[in-house]
């Protein structure tokens, strides 16, 4: 029965095989890229608070480092499986390649539930993880980052252990550090701004001036808020935004005919992006059902909340006016919906390109850390613009030239870059 279980690694390999077919890759390249390059499986003994010992299982997968040091998060998860880690490592390779940053793809994890661990035990676990891998990771070989259930604190413990072992300071060993402790400015804005950089370029290609375009945004978290801010600054108007209402346990769409105003919404929004309905109404916002964001008469849809929000059931409700969908969230569109979007001829900026601002900024953090010199925010965001713009143009050109759907084009360009790097090195 187990073989028939849903397996994320198999899904990732299937996707690779499909694109490899399009690129007509040779067998050796396929064999190299559909599997991890290196895997570490190891045990981490930890002395628990009650004095007893407990042994945890840890992993680090390096999918490919032909283009540069591996990059990818460390997950603490009770049901971590090696296949999940493998799939995510592969995905990191493509993600770094599509924005053309000189990094490879990796992922790591520990089978544990931090809810069952005290902070002290978590610290020992982090240090234990680094001790097992100290010779196999590093600023020029494999760079970890925070992921599910790990955060800046874990990164600092790991960095400290790594530096203790190697007897010097290597802030470039890890990313996701707080500003002032080797972190980069601009990280908060990076994903939202990056998203709009690609939107701006897409509009340019379509010959549409951003002034006068109208967008509808799903989500009002970090990504959406910065995206709305920048989109408004380049002249666009956001007609409505949908957000989750914690108290009512359902989502609502808030709409204002002459465009929403962040300045008036921020004071009535809590730290989770829930807008206070009563106060929004007082400000002249119309409160519509959560799904209404998708049905509006707008030019651009920006899903920046959860996955599977555009699906077979609602794809037909998208207005004829919509010309562009920019995926701020991870996987907001189901496979069935992709077909509907293609039919409608809507231009799509796929998630791993559209939201690559985050990983690009992590790369910048690493660069700054390696030279131990930190840029001002403007410099970070300026460089981000250049990277995102270039990445978009390359993908779009690939799509146009080969008449590909943008999502496929992004995969093609990413896998092609990695394949060529591997070949250039003489690996295959």
């Amino acid at each position: 029965m187990a073989a028939k279980d849903y397996n994320p690694y198999k899904t990732a390999q299937d996707q690779f095989d499909r694109v490899a077919g399009m690129l007509d890759l040779d067998q050796a390249t396929r064999d190299l890229l559909r599997n991890s390059l290196r895997e570490h499986h190891f045990s981490i003994p930890v002395q628990m608070d009650d004095g007893g010992k407990k042994v945890f299982r840890g992993f680090r997968v390096l999918h490919n480092d032909a283009r540069g040091p591996g990059k990818g998060g460390i997950r603490f998860h009770p049901q971590e499986t090696i296949d999940t880690v493998r799939a995510l490592a592969m995905w990191m390779t493509w993600k770094c390649a599509v924005v053309d940053i000189p990094l490879g793809g990796g992922k790591g994890g520990v089978i544990c539930d931090p809810h069952n661990l005290s902070l002290r035990e978590q610290e020992l676990l982090c240090r234990g993880w680094v001790r097992q891998l100290a010779r196999n990771v590093g600023p020029f070989s494999d760079v970890p980052a925070p992921d599910v259930m790990t955060n800046a604190q874990h990164m600092l413990w790991m960095l400290d252990e790594y530096e203790t072992i190697h007897g010097a300071r290597y802030p470039g060993f890890i990313t996701g550090k707080p500003v002032g402790m080797g972190g980069s400015l601009g990280r908060t804005e990076a994903t939202g701004y990056g998203l709009i950089f690609t939107v701006r370029e897409a509009l340019k290609e379509m010959g549409i001036k951003p002034e006068g375009t109208v967008a509808s945004v799903q989500g009002f978290g970090n990504v959406a808020q910065y995206a709305i801010e920048l989109f408004t600054r380049i002249g666009g108007e956001v007609l409505c935004v949908s957000c989750w209402d914690q108290e009512k346990q359902q989502a609502f769409t808030y709409k204002k005919q002459d465009g929403i105003d962040l300045g008036e919404l921020f004071p009535i929004t809590d730290s989770f992006g829930s807008i206070n309905q009563e106060k929004a109404r007082e400000l002249g916002y119309e409160a519509l059902p959560g799904g209404a964001w998708l049905e509006q008469e707008v030019d651009i849809l920006i899903p920046a909340a959860l996955e599977n929000e555009i699906n077979a059931e609602n794809v037909n409700k998208i207005s004829k006016r919509v010309k562009l969908i920019a995926e701020g969230a991870n996987g907001p569109t189901t496979i069935e919906a992709d077909e509907g979007i293609k039919e409608k001829g809507i231009f799509l900026i796929p998630d791993f390109l559209a939201n690559a601002g985050g990983v690009t900024c992590s790369y910048f953090e690493q660069v700054q850390s390696n030279m131990n010199y930190y840029w001002e925010k403007d410099e970070v965001l300026g460089k981000l613009d250049i990277k995102m713009t270039a990445a978009f143009m390359a993908t779009s050109e690939m799509a146009k030239k080969n008449k590909l759907y943008m999502r496929d084009a992004a995969y093609v360009i990413a896998i092609d870059r990695v394949a060529r790097a591997s070949q250039n090195r003489g690996w295959v």
Binding site: M1, D5, P78, H115, N116, G183, D270, F272
Partner: protein, 1069 residues
């Protein structure tokens, strides 16, 4: 300059008066100082007094003093008798020992009150009193000293010194001598000494002649000299007999014991007399307090006996309580308590359960030597008590006795008359003693905010879960003394009235307690806290339980306890607040936290805070973010309360200077409190100590003002709502059991479940596509919206809500499960490995706050039952409910328990003490705690959340039952919306659908009739909750036509989902 000797104006008079007062006080102070010198001889003291006094009188130059004591006379030099004098007796132990005289050597001008001022009269009395006291003290000390010497001598040489002792006894206190001889006589008789028996007979004769009991403490000295002489000679006879039959050491030891006993004998008498009033007892305690200070002691058995009597008189008759309390509460402790009691003259009342629990807990903590250092800042807030018969006296004083019959009325009538009672009570008067007492209390509290809490005799009683049934009210206590007193009286009246509220009466009826005369003691406590800006609140507060009933990890054990804490007043930790979260800590495992990632910490942190607004004199809930911006830096120890959230990272400030209150994103984490203060250790030790000494799990309420930890309440944990451990029936037929569990079981009852949503783990793991797996989660979300709220349970494999590998747990968010009564995670063995469950981690705090129960099941373990036959074999109604998900029917099974087994529902009993839980089908509904929601009204504008819809439902049913359909042309009456769905809040309408078929006139009449109800309900709702609305009923009228065309609200009638609920009418057409 003005001539002060001839006062002529009011101002001069006043100045003169003030000057005189100052002189008097100065004089008194000097005398106190003098007399406090224990080593000085009496003659020295008298000389000193004589010297000091003149300065205190109006004309010191001509003032002279004379003291007569025994045969001696002491006086000012050149003293001569004049007619211008005043004098008073010097007495010790009610016996005149001498006299003090103050006089003027020449005539002086008279004032309004004669030669001497009124104050001078008082002053001389006070001085005489103090001298008497000093004389007594000195003689006692001498007696003790002599005894000690004699005893030492005796132990050295065996020679007889008994004679001397007895002589001295006779000389110093004849009454005591008689008492001791009497005791000795009994002692001898007891030891069967024949001579003694004869003596006893002789005493009998003498008693008849005096007509009074010799050992009667209150009797005056017998007048007949003849008789007393006879008794005394008889008494000497007793000692003669004693000397013959006992050795001297024995005799002396006994004498000493009785002498000591005698000093406190009055206390025993007063307390053991069941007719004594509180007044008598407190007088006696006060007297005891003073003589105790002077060295009198109660013998051990007597002290123990007194403790028990006092505990019984002040607190409770229950043996369980007395048995524990007597080990920790000493007689002297009652003195302090008695100084803050308010009662009427004839009162025999008690203080009630809440006061008793707190008093006991405080003394257990104070008398634990091993915790002295840890508990050095543990305190109990200043508290005043109104005794339990205050309510009866109040009724009696206002001729309101008939209100007592309220409890025998029907519940509808109780609802209606309750409002009236509140108003009547608020407009009634209190007996003058009570007003006087409360006025003293108000003076004692100053303008410190206070809370008026009920402490009823039934509440918190052993065996009766009676928490929060009555009101507690916060008072800002600001303004003039008169205003503050009036507010206090008003609050007491309101708490009294809450005895007659429908909820407690209903509750008492169910518990068979209705025939008890509810006596309601009241505690008036100062609110712990500090003033911050215009607000007043404790830095943090909360509740703690010695047994943890919520496991967020398999590593958290029951014994680790639980703390629920919030910033500000503890009300938000005591109640479940659905829109906010307290911080949870297991004191035995403080580092194992519920929320781990910065996102979780932020998500589940407190957003609001309860405070007292000193400017508006009101209780308020404010946004923490705003409070911190405005006053953050004023809050003591704020750096221990909040952390800063910076770009996904949580930083813990080490000092106030690390915080920018204007711009930082501050999160309440209590990180510093947990890590850098002994708080958690203190609570842990306190819970363990109290549990150990009280012999039962306990729960406490606490508050912290940044400096000290205050204990506010303590009671056995089983008293708190929804954590009582139900017995698990052993005789259940196996086929009726659906599942059982023996691990990670918490206490609770989940009764009358009508639907089970069961996700079959085998079928779930067979699902191939991600889309199908996600669909399962979505179907659960849909079912959550249409199944009856809190009457269904969710059962399924693995970790629900996990963001990890979806095949190992159903993919849901809290919104997808928020209406379930219970979440059951099933750990199915895979090979030789059983997966870890989530314990609801992903929405743990949401589950806790919404009282959704959680249970993990391990069906493969031995000794448990998992009835797959029922769960897999019963009809699945998923396709009927959600046709669009019918292809998931193999995986998602929805069982209508009632339909599949006529008249049966699922009952789940969980007993964490036994680590046993069982879910079984039963045809009789469990009529337990859960069916009666408490009407907890901790603060004015907030009633218990669950009671809103219950009350609305009840009122809707009432209206329907009164609605004469034939008169108004009504066919049907339905309930819609939040009341029907049990989601109504304090400000919700009651949505009603009326199926109308009548004339226009009838329609008008109907509307008028309903409007009347609507207005009265709005008023009742206001009084219950503080929410003011114009009308409470939202009436939708539909006609036959609407029903036929399914237009307007008519679609709701008979709808598949969210159908309108029909209510029976008095009559229908």
């Amino acid at each position: 300059m003005k001539d002060l000797s001839k006062p002529d104006s009011k101002v001069d008079n006043l100045l003169n008066d003030l000057q005189e007062r100052a002189k008097e006080l100065n004089c008194l102070y000097k005398i106190e100082e003098l007399l406090n010198n224990a080593d000085a001889e009496l003659s020295e003291l008298f000389a000193g007094v004589i010297e000091i006094i003149p300065a205190g009188w109006q004309f010191p130059e001509v003032c002279q003093v004379k003291i007569e004591y025994k045969d001696q006379v002491y006086s000012s030099t050149g003293f001569r008798e004049t007619p211008w004098n005043q004098s008073t007796d010097i007495a010790a132990q009610e016996k005149v020992m001498g006299r003090i005289t103050v006089s003027y050597s020449e005539e002086v001008p008279e004032t309004g009150s004669g030669l001497f001022l009124n104050e001078e009269r008082k002053l001389i009395d006070t001085i005489a009193d103090r001298i008497g006291h000093t004389i007594l003290q000195k003689s006692l000390r001498e007696i003790f000293k002599e005894w000690k010497e004699i005893k030492e001598e005796l132990s050295e040489k065996k020679g007889s010194e008994l004679r001397a002792v007895i002589d001295m006894l006779e000389r110093s206190d004849r009454k005591l001598f008689l008492y001791v001889s009497q005791k000795m006589l009994y002692h001898l008789c007891w030891n069967s000494i024949k001579e003694a028996k004869k003596l006893l007979e002789k005493f009998g004769v003498s008693r008849k002649t005096t007509g009074r009991g010799v050992d009667d403490d209150d009797v005056n000295r017998p007048v007949q000299k003849q008789t007393i002489d006879r008794i005394i000679s008889l008494s000497h006879e007793v000692f003669r007999v004693a000397a013959k039959s006992l050795n001297e050491e024995q005799i002396l030891a006994n004498i000493q014991k009785w002498v000591q006993e005698d000093k406190s004998r009055f206390l025993v008498k007063v307390i053991d007399n069941s007719n004594s009033t509180l007044n008598d007892i407190i007088d006696a305690l006060t007297r005891y307090h003073y003589i105790e200070a002077e060295g009198a002691m109660l013998s051990d058995p007597i002290e123990k006996g007194l403790r028990v009597s006092l505990i019984r008189r002040f607190f409770a008759d229950q043996l369980e309580f007395i048995n524990i309390a007597k080990k920790f509460i000493e007689v002297r402790d009652f003195y302090d308590l008695s100084q803050r009691m308010v009662f009427t003259a004839e009162s025999q009342g008690q203080l009630g359960g809440k006061s008793a629990g707190l008093f006991l807990a405080a003394h257990i903590a104070a008398k634990s030597p091993e915790h002295r250092e840890l508990f050095k800042n543990l305190k109990v807030p200043r508290t005043w008590y109104l005794t339990s018969d205050g309510l009866i006296n109040f009724l009696h004083y206002n001729n309101l006795e008939e209100i007592n019959e309220q409890k025998y009325k029907s519940i509808d009538e109780i609802y209606l008359s309750y409002l009236n009672i509140v108003q009547i009570f608020k407009n009634s008067n209190f007996p003058p003693e009570v007003i006087k007492g409360l006025s003293t209390a108000i003076e004692d509290f100053g303008d410190h905010p206070i809370i008026v809490r009920s402490s009823s005799l039934l509440e918190d009683r052993f065996g009766a879960v009676f928490s929060g049934k009555y009101k507690s009210l916060f008072l800002a206590n600001q303004g003039s003394k008169e205003d503050r007193l009036n507010a206090l009286l008003d609050a007491v009246a309101e708490v009294y009235a809450s005895t007659f509220a429908p909820d407690p009466i209903e509750y008492r009826t169910v518990r068979g307690l209705i025939d008890f005369n509810e006596e309601m003691g009241i505690m008036i406590q100062e609110v712990v806290g500090t003033k911050v800006g215009r607000y007043f609140f404790p830095v943090f507060a909360g509740v703690a339980f010695s047994k943890n009933d919520f496991f967020w990890s398999s590593r958290v054990k029951k014994e680790d306890g639980l703390i629920r804490m919030v910033p500000g007043l503890g009300t938000r930790a005591v109640d479940r607040v659905t829109d906010d979260y307290p911080v949870l800590i297991a004191p035995g495992m403080p580092d194992l936290r519920v929320n781990v990632s910065p996102g979780e910490v932020l998500r589940y942190s407190a957003k609001r805070i309860d405070v007292i607004n000193l400017e508006d004199n009101s209780f308020e809930t404010v946004e923490i973010a705003e409070l911190l911006k405005e006053f953050g830096s004023e809050i003591p120890g704020i750096q221990h309360i909040v952390s800063t959230y910076i770009e996904g990272h949580i930083e813990n400030p080490t000092s106030k200077f690390n915080i920018n209150f204007n711009s930082d994103d501050l999160v309440v984490t209590f990180h510093g409190i947990i890590k850098r203060t002994p708080f958690v250790e203190q609570i842990d030790a306190l819970l363990k100590l109290l549990e150990d000494k009280m012999g039962t799990a306990v729960d406490i309420e606490f508050a912290h003002n940044g400096e000290s930890l205050y204990l506010l309440q303590c009671r056995p944990q089983s008293y708190s709502k929804d954590v009582s451990a139900p017995p698990i029936p052993k005789d259940l037929p196996e086929e009726k059991i659906i599942f059982s569990a023996r691990k990670f079981v918490t206490n609770g009852i989940v009764p009358n479940i009508t639907h089970i949503v069961f996700i079959d783990s085998n079928a779930y793991s067979r699902l191939r596509s991600l889309e199908d797996l996600k669909k399962v989660g979505r179907s659960v979300g849909k079912l959550n919206k249409i199944l009856p709220k809190r009457q269904f349970i969710l059962m399924g494999p693995g970790r629900w809500g996990s963001r990890g590998d979806i095949k190992l747990g159903v993919n849901v968010t809290y919104a997808d499960i928020n209406n379930t009564a219970m979440l059951i995670e099933i750990a199915c063995k895979k090979g030789n490995y059983t997966p870890e469950l989530s314990f609801g981690t992903h929405f743990f705090q949401d589950l806790v706050e919404a009282s959704i129960r959680y249970l993990p099941l391990y069906p493969d373990e031995e000794g448990v039952i998992f009835n797959s036959r029922f769960l897999l074999g019963t009809d699945n109604i998923l396709a009927d409910l959600l046709p669009e998900y019918s292809e998931l029917s193999d995986t998602v099974r929805v069982i209508d328990v009632n339909k599949s087994m006529e008249g049966f529902t699922l009952q789940i009993l969980m007993n964490g003490d036994l680590e046993e839980a069982v879910g079984f089908l039963s045809d009789s509904s469990l009529d337990m705690e859960i069916s009666i929601e408490p009407a907890e009204i901790e603060k004015r504008p907030k009633a218990q959340v669950n009671s809103y819809w219950r009350w609305r439902l009840h009122m809707a049913e009432l209206i329907a039952s009164r609605l004469d359909g034939r008169r108004f042309g009504v066919k049907g009456f339905y309930l819609l919306g939040s009341t029907k769905n049990a989601t109504a809040g304090a400000a919700s309408d009651i949505d009603i659908l009326v199926h109308f078929h009548g004339t226009e006139k009838q329609r008008k009449e109907l509307c008028l009739w309903l409007e009347g109800w609507s207005l009265s309900l709005a008023e009742m709702n206001y009084l219950r909750t503080g929410y003011s609305t114009d009308a409470l009923l939202d009436v939708h009228i539909i006609t036959d036509e609407d029903v036929a065309n399914k237009t307007s609200y008519a679609v709701k009638v008979g709808a598949v989902t969210d159908a309108a609920r029909p209510l029976p009418l008095k009559s229908a057409i």
